[in-house]
Homo-oligomer: 231 residues x 2
Amino acid sequence: MVGESSRIASQDGLRADARRNRGRILVAARAVFAEHGIDAPMATVARRAGVGVATLYRRFPTRDALVRAAFAQQMETCARALTEALDDPDPWRGFQRLIETACELQREERGFPAAFVAAFPDSTVDHARARQRAERDLMTLVRRAQAAGALRADFHPSDIAVALLSHCALVTALPHDRAASRRLVAYLLQSFRAEAAHGALPPPSALSLRSLPLAADGSQGAQPSNTAQRT
Amino acid sequence: MVGESSRIASQDGLRADARRNRGRILVAARAVFAEHGIDAPMATVARRAGVGVATLYRRFPTRDALVRAAFAQQMETCARALTEALDDPDPWRGFQRLIETACELQREERGFPAAFVAAFPDSTVDHARARQRAERDLMTLVRRAQAAGALRADFHPSDIAVALLSHCALVTALPHDRAASRRLVAYLLQSFRAEAAHGALPPPSALSLRSLPLAADGSQGAQPSNTAQRT
DNA sequence: GGTCAAACGGACGATGTCGTCCGGTTCGCA
DNA sequence: TGCGAACCGGACGACATCGTCCGTTTGACC
């Protein structure tokens, strides 16, 4: 098919041992990040995976690449939730479930919140297309729920980011306190409902939804984009 | 009075140059922490203050001591806000202002949020008395606002911590986005109002309010408690 | 089974931060 | 003015992490 050198049959172009090690590294990374935070030494991840540091760096040149790959599955769950939310015939329920799913993921998958915020700001050029679509979907979701009279009219799409980021940080500060997380989500959702709109709100943030890690594109879990560089 | 060697007249027992340098260090620390985060190198703070590292370490043996001292003023503002909230004849307004003041402080004083959460978990034994009083005051504040029918009945004191911590994290993630911060506060306050109570809430967190850095005790800004140790 | 590229992993130099030590300086008091 | 204690600050060794280099091993294909 694609005119590669084609000595290797496996789909991802990795040798069997390499692929096996890659998997081990991702498992180890999730465990280590959950336990010691996202800034844990790379060597710790390598040791836990039973590989050398060089193997780790070869597969994931930067910590960022490792983090993204380690939590690609969770990111994708977020993205799928967005699709499902749009498919829900009840606009409010779709909206509500999106928020709840994203927050539940942040709550249950330790280490993921850090990845979530880490992926947040520096995603301006990265896989722009998928993010643009996610942004559009979010706005559609919001408008539909507003048109149905369930979501308050002065809700601004950027409020989604406000909600997700603040919740994110709460679970980071209190990783074991699920009750606190659930409470915050419940409070936020209640105040997002149309009938909760009593006073006026201050102006919305200029935050772009495009930067929210809700975009489903396969590239995240794939090979490290060797162009990715942290400064 | 206290039978000191008494060669030094100044109240804090520091020589004039030492006191001057201490002030410089605090100013520099606030600036550096705001700019580079709370984990900025101690040497950076020292350089900015125009003193040697040794001077910095002599005055503040641990980073923690420096952080506490640097933001003691902000902590005290928080604590004063609590007192004022209790003095307000309108229970709801008192409650509202407390939340708003604390959040405004977090929003405007860059670096303070990090100090706020840093002070949060490891304050179990530290100046326990003041914290106990703060806890009692908070509960009084909540009960009064509930009795007045302004604060929803299912509001739990620990929700204050939920609100402050999540807001704290939001401004940490988006230090420049004041609109996002104000929005979150407005949403939270609206959902705390009695008339916003529509559905049932999940059970409250077991979080102790005692650990919230809202306690005003002079010890924070004073000499570093040499017993304080990080592990 | 043989060949070779790909993958492996430990060692290593570079870098940055920490916290202390000590010789020189300055302040406060007589 | 003189003295001594307190203070100052740069230098320094210890330590952790980073990311690369390179000799060795392993898997895929013939």
